[in-house]
């Protein structure tokens, strides 16, 4: 269990030397308890205290890395059951399978397809994270050959999937530099798989048949010194996966050590809609990595979008840069809309301007990323701020007219804004979905 600030304080030197950057030892203890400082900052802490605090402050779920070089995939360090309690730290890794029995001429194409699974959303690229090379052929030499070929063609992290230690040994020898995830150690093969993971310093997936056999196997493997683990409870039915993932997370947070590692799940359904549904549930419910057998862009886009949404930090509104955005082929007569720099507000307005098929400018006012109503209520979306943004953003140089459209929900600002800015203020619709109808009626 995590220690409280006072419990930690008792273990500190209590000299208030300030060398840790905090005014007092008590303040430092509070920072440690909140996970905002690390013990190394204190130069005088005793070995005894280090041990006691180290064990208690180790994250309930270990941080595990797969891959090397520019695209290292990271999972773990999670601390909560519900995103609203703090946040989910590491977005679920999305892994796409590649079977080693594909005809050799199709392998490069499949890798390229997987490499290309990247989508732009509000200027940010969201991509799948791993390629799972699966030993379907049963032939160690084929598996090793395909693993090597794939590793040369992608920057994504690799998962090597085979329960045959011989095949794994052959494949890892070819790809060790890329630090792939070995999948998987089972009750039958764990000694050899653990030895391979140890020798090549790679992460190891552990596959149980249920929670009890998984815990058992993890204990045996950590006993031989392999600590970078990823857990598979063996469940493939979506209802059981939900139960198992919930148990792994709950028990890890209760400091049941065998479950203190990120998990791996499989959206095993072959039907496209069913597998996307399943993968979606895994993403929302704690999976560290979800593996699925599709590179169809229409299937991957909703999953990457769901992941982006669920793993957004709820304490930090996502802001866009406050400036004038151009939507479509604008000219000096295009309408000018104003909204806040909350990304969702901007995104909705931009989307509905596109839908109206009339190019337009959007001026986002810096409201610390809060929405129109929240910002208005908090005094961050005021006539003064909008007027200042109008003049400082250079909006006046982009359009020949002097008309600005404000959100209908803050119609009350229009008089004062007109007075302050000298611009004619048009009150737009309450919701951005009304923009096309609004334009037809009020713009020309």
């Amino acid at each position: 269990m995590a220690l409280t600030g006072l419990e930690i304080y008792k273990l500190l030197p209590k000299t208030n030397c300030k060398e840790c950057g905090q005014p007092t030892c008590l303040a430092f203890a509070m920072q440690l308890a909140a996970g905002k400082a690390s013990l190394e900052k204190c130069p005088y802490v005793s070995e005894e205290a280090k041990e006691a605090l180290g064990a208690a402050s180790a994250p309930p779920i270990a941080l595990v890395k797969v891959g090397a070089g520019e695209r290292v995939f990271t999972a773990g360090n999670e601390t909560v059951l519900f995103r609203h309690d703090k946040r989910f730290e590491h977005p679920t890794g999305i892994a796409v399978t590649l079977a080693d029995d594909l005809p050799p001429e199709e392998i490069a194409g499949r890798v390229e397809e997987i490499n290309a699974l990247c989508f732009d959303r509000v200027g940010q690229l969201h991509c799948v994270d791993l390629v799972a090379v699966k030993n379907v052929s049963g032939d160690p030499a084929v598996f090793a050959g395909v693993a090597k070929a794939v590793s040369g063609k992608t920057n994504l992290a690799l998962i090597l999937m085979s329960e045959d230690p011989g095949a794994m040994e052959a494949a890892i020898k070819e790809t060790a530099a890329f630090k792939p995830l070995i999948y998987a150690a089972t009750a039958e093969n764990y000694e050899k798989m653990a030895a391979l993971a140890k020798e090549h310093d790679t992460a190891l997936a552990v596959k149980g048949e249920n929670l009890a056999t998984l815990a058992d196997l993890v204990s045996k493997i950590t006993a031989v010194g392999v600590k970078q683990l990823v857990l598979d409870t063996g469940a493939r039915e979506v209802n059981q996966v939900l139960g198992d993932q919930t148990q792994l997370r709950r028990q890890a947070l209760k400091r049941f050590r065998p479950f203190g590692y990120p998990s791996i799940t499989f959206a095993a359904e072959q039907d496209p809609v069913a597998r996307v549904i399943e993968a979606g549930v895994h993403i929302a419910k704690y999976a560290g990595i979800v593996v699925l057998d599709t590179a169809d862009r229409a299937e991957i886009l909703p999953l990457l979008t769901l992941r982006l949404n669920i793993y957004t930090d709820p304490q930090k509104p996502i802001a866009v840069e406050p400036k004038v955005y151009e939507i479509g082929a604008v000219n000096e007569n295009s309408p000018l809309y104003v909204t806040t720099n909350f990304s969702l507000s901007y995104f909705c307005v931009a989307g509905d301007i596109e839908a109206s098929r009339v190019p337009g400018y959007v001026l986002t006012v810096d409201t610390d990323g809060t929405s129109v109503f929240t910002a208005w209520a908090a005094g961050k979306f005021t006539p003064e701020k909008i007027a200042a943004a109008l003049s400082e953003s250079g909006a006046g140089d982009k359009v020949a007219h002097r008309k600005v459209i404000i959100p209908g929900g803050v119609a009350v600002l229009s008089g004062k804004l007109q007075e302050l800015s000298g611009w004619e203020v048009l009150v737009g619709p309450r919701e951005s979905a009304g923009i096309p109808a609004f334009l037809k009626q009020f713009w020309n």
Binding site: L242, G243, V276, I277, R297, L306
Partner: protein, 314 residues
């Protein structure tokens, strides 16, 4: 190694709401645990999935959506029957024509449409106004009166118009959708205001105002999770079931509306997945009724729910 299954000891449960009358009546809510965690508590009722009907033929629907309702798009009663044929647990009638900019149909006209739809199907009926507070306040009491005794679900009542709508629901024996703008405190406050008018708590269903996938779904996701944990921890004013108005959100997204492209793949598959993923993730947050638009989405979400209703093995 012995593993003790971790179970939360919740002190309370979600309210159970009964909708409709007669043989096809349904119950929602009543859970004593988080969604689908059968090892921990009871989930006495299966989450319901509804299909939508509109009082005017839709514009700008993609072909693969409108073709599912070919021949009935101009006739709400026939459309509703089609929804039942597709297996909808409830039918949701949107009274869009009452909108001041879309025909401004009178409360009496709206009540007539609602009566015709109610007469055509025996599944529980949900009737939604056009979303303009004042207009809905005039239309829904009239609808409530015309459908008296059918135990429908009417909405959406907001902080600004709930009084006349709730009065109509009390008089007609209906349940009400209490709608709040993505704010759990406002949701709770509206429930308090409505129950203070003497509508029983088990006649209220909450609409937290969801966003579609990619358009703020995470806000609704977390609010619904907090509503559910609130209910389980004994907050009576957060214990009402949750309705998810998925169809309207999912089909207005760029991802559902953009035709086939090399970057985003096939539109039909993408749009369907957008609706289904939105519905399913919010059901896993704690939603009770998912309102979807495409019959294929209905089938897929129901199929998933029936899988999730299978208990875990421990």
């Amino acid at each position: 190694m012995a593993v003790t299954i971790a179970k939360e000891r919740w002190s309370s449960k979600c309210l159970e709401v009964v909708l409709g009358s007669g043989l096809k009546q349904i119950k929602i809510g009543g859970e004593t645990t988080l969604p689908f965690l059968h090892f921990e508590g009871e989930m006495p009722n299966v989450p319901a999935v509804a299909l939508e009907v509109f009082d005017a033929p839709p514009v700008e629907w993609p072909d693969f959506l409108s073709s599912a309702f070919e021949g009935v798009l101009g006739d709400p009663a026939a459309w509703a029957k089609k929804c039942v044929e597709y297996g909808a647990d409830l039918v949701v009638l949107h009274l869009n024509r009452t909108h001041p900019d879309q025909g401004d149909a009178s409360p009496e006209e709206a009540a007539e449409v609602a009566s015709a739809v109610a007469a055509a199907v025996d599944t529980p009926l949900v009737v939604l106004g056009c979303g303009v507070d004042e207009k809905d306040a005039a239309v829904l009491p009239e609808v409530a009166n015309a459908l008296a005794g059918k135990n429908c679900l009417l909405g959406c009542a907001t902080q600004d118009n709930y009084k006349s709508i709730v009065a109509g629901c009390i008089a007609g024996g209906h349940a009400v959708i209490a709608s709040s703008p993505l704010d759990i405190n406002l949701a709770k406050q509206l429930n308090i205001l409505i129950t203070e008018m003497n509508l029983e708590p088990q006649k209220i269903v909450m609409d937290p105002s969801i966003g579609g996938l990619g358009y703020g779904i995470e806000y609704a996701y977390s609010i619904i999770e907090r509503m559910r944990t609130g209910a389980l921890m004994g907050d009576k004013m957060l214990a009402m079931p949750v309705v998810l108005l998925v169809g309207s959100e999912a089909w207005k997204t760029k991802e559902a509306k953009t035709p086939d492209t090399p970057d985003w793949g096939e539109q039909k598959k993408r749009a369907l997945l957008w609706e289904v993923t939105t519905a399913v993730s919010l059901l896993h947050a704690g939603g009770h009724i998912a309102v979807v638009r495409h019959p294929e989405s209905l089938r897929r979400v129901k199929e998933h729910v029936s899988r999730m209703m299978q208990p875990q093995t421990y």
